[in-house]
Amino acid sequence: MILSLLWFIVLILAFTSVGVMLVRDWRWLIILLAVQYGGMFILALQHWPIGMAAVKVIAGWMSAAILGMTRSNLVDDQNDNDALPQGRLFRLIAAFIVILIVTSGAPLVDAMMADAGLAVSAGSLLLIGMGLLHLGVTDRVLQVTIGLMTIIAGFEILYTAVESSVLVAALLAVVNLGLALAGSYLMIASSAREAEST
């Protein structure tokens, strides 16, 4: 039962991380990011007590809220609302390749990481892979920030299996919030050009 739940969570992570790459509407990006942190919370529960795992989901949701609130105050960019983003097929194929790599690499990583659990390793690798792919196909500040947060979320899932320090949990939460704040700052700065040109 629990194992099935974990694999269901991995499936949700696959859906959200691929979705983050495909959608252009920032509202959907933020919603998918928030769902991703929910999935991360359940995977982190496999190794951490609920109190510490909750730090991750709260920090993640706060980060998503920071990004969303900043983006909502900026002028809408035409490209952001594009329902059918260009290169969607390419991204889907690339995401499929990442999923294949994760499928073959997860058992190896599971063995390497002190038996973290196959579902935990797979979920973690999936987020890391999709985050890296996301960074490779975009240079927009919001997308780059979400890509970095996805990679760190994947890493955090894996790291819960080997490290249970409160200091690390706190610092990783600070890093997540810091990334969201840095992303928001850069988004506002980017909008300076748009405001100038309009």
Partner: protein, 465 residues
């Protein structure tokens, strides 16, 4: 009272308070004064020993517990703290003259405090988290909220952030290798992950493309500060890894990898600099080559390499502060830092031009200048290990020399009848003059810094002994 409170929490609190001040001069003086006081305190007040001041007697504890882990500043690290805060003071005092005080002083002091925390945290591999926080703090310092960020800043954020997971994971894997040294597959995996982490953090070829981009987009004085602080702390963090794990310390493959990475950095940095037409990008590649020198020093027999590594640090700090300050002044007076824009500026900005050329020559290893003693020692030691590598180091240095002389030629290429018109103010002239004198003093009398540097290897358990 404990050492982490004095050298981490206190400067962090002062930095936050400084954010409330708008006056450039007050910021520069308070920030610089704080850094100098912290440096003097670090050098002369012993840690974990009773210290008597008239009738008062007090003792500074070395550690502080934070969330179940500890921040530990060992007595041997006092000199390193003095070097870090002393060098930071150079930037803070120069900030007013370069009109960057409002950003570099408060945020720079906060970043410095986090970097000191990175050195102090136990277990030491958690340093990667503190470095990442410092990188995130650097974002508002590098770019204005009123100006769109360039690609350099985005790449800086991406590359430096990617380093953190690799380093944290490698730290855990390395502990596994330590407990089962026969597991070669695990050793190879952990070494690869460690290498990737440091490649991102050190900006090793080809991951350094954000440095020249950043110098085109952001204020040179602020970028110079980061190009000094980040590699300096990273190299100490990296040396800590080598010190901690005996299998890593004795691995011949590590020495080869460091040597290869270092020489590629020097050669590409030198050659790319030689072909640049932008004086900011020349500084970027100079800094890349300088990082390569640090890696080469780490690749040598560590009894020899560690003293050379520490000899590189003060020269790097002083050279970069003069170089970035000069660039800032030239940028204020020309449209861009391209050769076509700064042509003939020796006549209008003589102090900045001279500072720029001297700093550039010092990085090239020109005799009598600050960079010369460390490069000579490194070159000599390297030639004993591998003549071919020493030859390649020479190629990189020649590249840097070409860049320096091209810069000198462009800056002095004024129209025949243009008159001398000094545009720098007195404060800027004095700051640059002192910096250039400092570069000559470090070059002519390298033994002056030996007083500080001789104790530094003591901070490691195994290295440099």
């Amino acid at each position: 009272m404990n050492a982490p409170t004095i050298w981490i929490i206190l400067p962090a609190v002062i930095a936050v308070l400084l954010m409330l001040i708008n006056n450039q001069r007050a910021l520069s003086l308070i920030g610089g004064g704080t850094a100098i006081l912290l440096a003097i305190f670090a050098q002369f007040v012993p840690i974990e020993e009773a210290f008597r001041l008239n009738t008062l007697s007090f003792k500074i504890e070395s550690s502080m517990n934070v969330l179940g882990r500890s921040l530990l500043i060992q007595p041997e690290e006092g000199t390193l703290l003095a070097l870090i805060y002393g060098s930071a003071a150079l930037w803070f005092f120069g900030a007013e003259a370069s009109r960057t005080s409002q950003k570099i002083v408060p945020i720079g002091l906060l970043i410095t405090a986090f970097m000191v925390a990175a050195i102090a945290v136990e277990p030491f591999l958690f340093a990667a988290l503190f470095i990442e926080v410092a990188v995130l703090l650097a974002i508002p310092m590098l770019t204005s909220i009123y100006k769109p960020p360039g690609k350099g800043i985005i790449r800086f954020l991406i590359y430096q952030t990617l380093a953190m997971p690799f380093l944290l994971l490698s730290g855990w894997l390395l502990a596994g290798v330590e407990s089962s040294p026969g597991n070669l597959a695990l050793a190879a995996q952990s070494a690869s992950i460690l290498g990737l982490g440091f490649a991102f953090l050190f900006a090793i070829f080809p991951l350094y493309n954000w440095i020249p981009m950043l110098l085109e987009e952001a204020p040179p004085f602020i970028v110079g500060f980061l190009l000094w602080l980040l590699p300096t702390i990273t190299v100490i963090f990296g040396a800590g890894f080598i010190d901690r794990y005996s299998w890593l310390r004795t691995s011949p493959q590590l020495a080869t990898a460091l040597q290869l990475a270092g020489i590629i950095m020097i050669v590409t940095g030198g050659l790319w600099a030689a072909f640049q037409r932008h004086i900011g990008r020349i500084m970027a590649y100079g800094s890349v080559a300088e990082t390569g020198l640090s890696l080469l020093a780490l690749s040598l027999d560590l009894r020899l390499g560690i003293p050379i590594l520490f000899l590189l640090l003060p020269a790097r700090a002083l050279t970069l502060v003069v170089w970035s300050f000069s660039l800032t002044l030239l940028k204020d007076r020309s449209e861009t830092l391209r050769f076509s824009s700064v042509r003939g500026m020796l006549r209008t900005s003589p102090f900045a031009s001279i500072g720029l050329v001297i700093a550039s020559l010092s990085t090239s290893g020109f005799p009598l200048l600050a960079g010369f003693p460390s490069r000579l020692a490194l070159w000599d030691s390297l030639a004993r290990v591998s003549l071919v590598t020493a030859l390649w180091m020479g190629v990189g240095i020649v590249g840097m020399f070409i860049a320096s002389f091209r810069t000198l030629a462009v800056l002095s290429m004024a129209d025949e009848y243009s008159s001398w018109d000094v545009s720098e103010n007195l404060l800027q002239g004095i700051m640059l003059g002192l910096g250039v004198i400092g570069i000559f003093v470090l070059g002519l009398f390298p033994q002056t810094v030996q007083y500080f540097l001789s104790d530094l290897p003591g901070m490691f358990e195994h290295l440099g002994r």
